[in-house]
């Protein structure tokens, strides 16, 4: 059975987009549990994952039943950015993903919190969390970029590999009004470039989005690893239709 939320409201669409970002990234971070590179990072990554999961629950609940939306939707109905669904890779990839996303999320929620739209209450809390996530990612980018030769090479590979998923973040999200998206993108780019330069890394120069005219995550078009992630995430819930937990 597939449940699709009533798409009567643009707010619902926006809540799904933002909620799916948080849900999916939280899930990926949760995959680190038990094998982070250092014990402090078990705590830190779990903190971030928990913040995001909390945001996801609020946002999905704005769009419908949180568990139905998380566990009974098919891949093509998820609206998250392709960036957040990318596999963890090594720690550098996880940090690069965190850097790109948390700067975006911090800037976006900062603007949403300042407005009076339906997401302002959530954003007021989320902006503080995102500030911590951003700081965490920036500190690690500096450490890895400006650490050893190996960590520098790994961090450079990571920021290069994920660069092509960063353009999608600045496509306007239906249902989110009053955001100057090009301005957001400029600010994001300045902030990210500043960190990369301080980390002695080269700012990637490849394309920031794919050539596929059909679209990307916000249109429900995802990357192949996402399907397997969903299979693991949804299997138990789907195995017991109608059960409560």
């Amino acid at each position: 059975m597939t449940t699709t939320p009533a798409a009567d409201s643009v707010t619902t669409a926006a809540a799904l987009a933002l909620g799916d970002d948080a849900l999916v990234l939280s899930h990926r971070l949760g995959e680190w549990a038990g094998h982070a590179p250092v014990l402090e990072e078990e705590v830190a990554l779990a903190n971030i994952a928990l913040d995001l999961l909390g945001q996801a629950r609020v946002l999905l609940s704005m769009a419908g039943d949180e568990d139905e939306l998380a566990f009974l939707r098919e891949e093509r109905a998820f609206r998250n950015l392709q960036l957040v669904e990318q596999p963890n890779g090594d720690f550098a990839h996880t940090i690069a993903r965190q850097l790109y996303f948390s700067v975006y999320q911090h800037l976006l929620h900062d603007r949403l919190a300042a407005g009076d739209g339906p997401f302002a209450p959530l954003a007021g809390k989320a902006v503080k969390e995102a500030a911590y996530h951003r700081d965490h990612a920036e500190q690690w980018t500096l450490r890895l970029g400006d650490g050893t030769d190996e960590s520098h090479a790994r961090m450079q590979r990571a920021v290069d590999a994920l660069w092509r998923f960063t353009g999608e973040m600045f496509q306007p999200v239906e249902g989110i009004d009053g955001i100057d998206w090009p301005g957001l993108e400029r600010t994001w780019r300045e902030a990210v470039e500043d960190v990369l330069v301080r980390a002695t890394l080269t700012v990637p120069d490849g394309p920031r989005s794919g050539a596929w005219r059909a679209g990307a995550g916000r249109q429900g078009l995802h990357t192949e690893p996402f399907g397997r992630m969903l299979a693991e995430m949804q299997h138990l819930h789907r195995s017991h239709p109608g059960a409560t937990w």
Partner: protein, 313 residues
């Protein structure tokens, strides 16, 4: 000598021994061994539960489970810190764990096969741990005792969450109920083994009790645990897999069946269902994280004199 007499007097007077106080070498060694084993158990113990984070069946349960596994990492941090007050670094202890020269609790060598196992671990394994650990809050060594206060508080929260998870299953669909019963059937006996061998076979107990590291015998604590669990199992609507389990009016305790100690020793020797998996996953995580730790150290060294670099994690 005078140091020894002061130490003995402090222990006798239920005072806390602190890191700078003189203490007998054997006391220090016993504490290091015990605290290290406890710390290792926290971090190895993350694995069986982390096995279900990605498959948790509701977002609420997923958040609870993530937070619990995170708490275990936190407990590991407190405990390695407590061990450091005795002069051994976390790295040394981890090396010993990875080399198989220090133990962790054998209970984590059993697999989590269904979602209900997450509940059974909370209810039974955390329950047994608390029964073991509450007396440690009065342990003669101050840093360990204080770490235990904080840990016990969180553990009892986890224990209630595990109970509540099982209750939801027990009262759920027939499949969910069966899943809960199956988990309890598999975790009950290993939980009883968590209190260690019977008193007559326990190596370190007498000295630890004299030092007031340990306050009760293994069998005493095991009995206490059984007495606590029986009524809880009834409230859960689940049975404990022991036909010999019954109230003994005379003793004022529950009698219970014989524990299969050969399984206990076998698992302890490394032949449990998950020993290889747990240790090899831990080693792999450590090895794969080496470049990250090296990078952090190199960065800190480069930037020890400036304020623009990243601060230590």
């Amino acid at each position: 000598d005078a140091f020894q007499r002061a130490f003995d007097a402090a222990v006798a007077a239920e005072e806390r021994i602190e890191p700078r106080d003189w203490m007998p070498d054997a006391y220090r060694a016993t504490l290091v061994r015990q605290i290290a084993q406890h710390a290792h158990s926290e971090i190895i113990g993350m694995q069986p539960e982390a096995n279900w984070i990605t498959r948790a069946p509701s977002l609420r349960r997923k958040a609870i489970l993530m937070a619990k596994v995170q708490d275990e990492a936190g407990h590991g941090l407190y405990l390695y810190s407590a061990a450091e007050t005795l002069g051994v670094s976390r790295d040394e202890l981890l090396d010993k764990l990875h080399a198989g020269r220090q133990k962790y609790s054998s209970i984590f060598n059993y697999p989590t096969l269904t979602w209900a196992d997450v509940g059974a671990i909370g209810w039974l394994v955390d329950g047994a741990a608390i029964t073991n650990q509450v007396p440690l809050c009065r342990c003669s060594y101050g840093p360990y005792a204080r770490a235990m206060v904080r840990i016990c508080k969180e553990e009892s929260f986890h224990q209630r969450q595990g109970y509540e998870l099982l209750l939801a299953l027990s009262q759920g669909t027939p499949e969910q109920h069966a899943m809960a019963q199956d988990a309890v059937d598999r975790w009950w006996w290993p939980s009883l083994m968590m209190f260690g061998p019977p008193d007559d076979a326990s190596q370190h107990s007498a000295q630890s009790m004299a030092w007031k590291i340990k306050r009760h015998s293994n069998d005493e604590l095991r009995q206490r645990f059984v007495d606590i669990c029986v009524p809880q199992a009834e409230s859960l609507g689940l049975t404990l897999p022991d036909p010999d389990l019954k109230w003994n009016e005379e003793r004022g305790h529950h009698d219970f069946g014989a524990i299969d100690w050969s399984e206990f020793w076998d698992v302890l020797r490394g032949n449990g269902p998950c020993n290889d998996q747990r240790l090899s996953r831990r080693r792999t995580a450590h090895e794969e994280g080496a470049w990250v730790r090296e990078a952090a150290a190199a960065h800190a060294a480069k930037h020890s004199n400036d304020t623009t670099g990243a601060t230590r994690a």
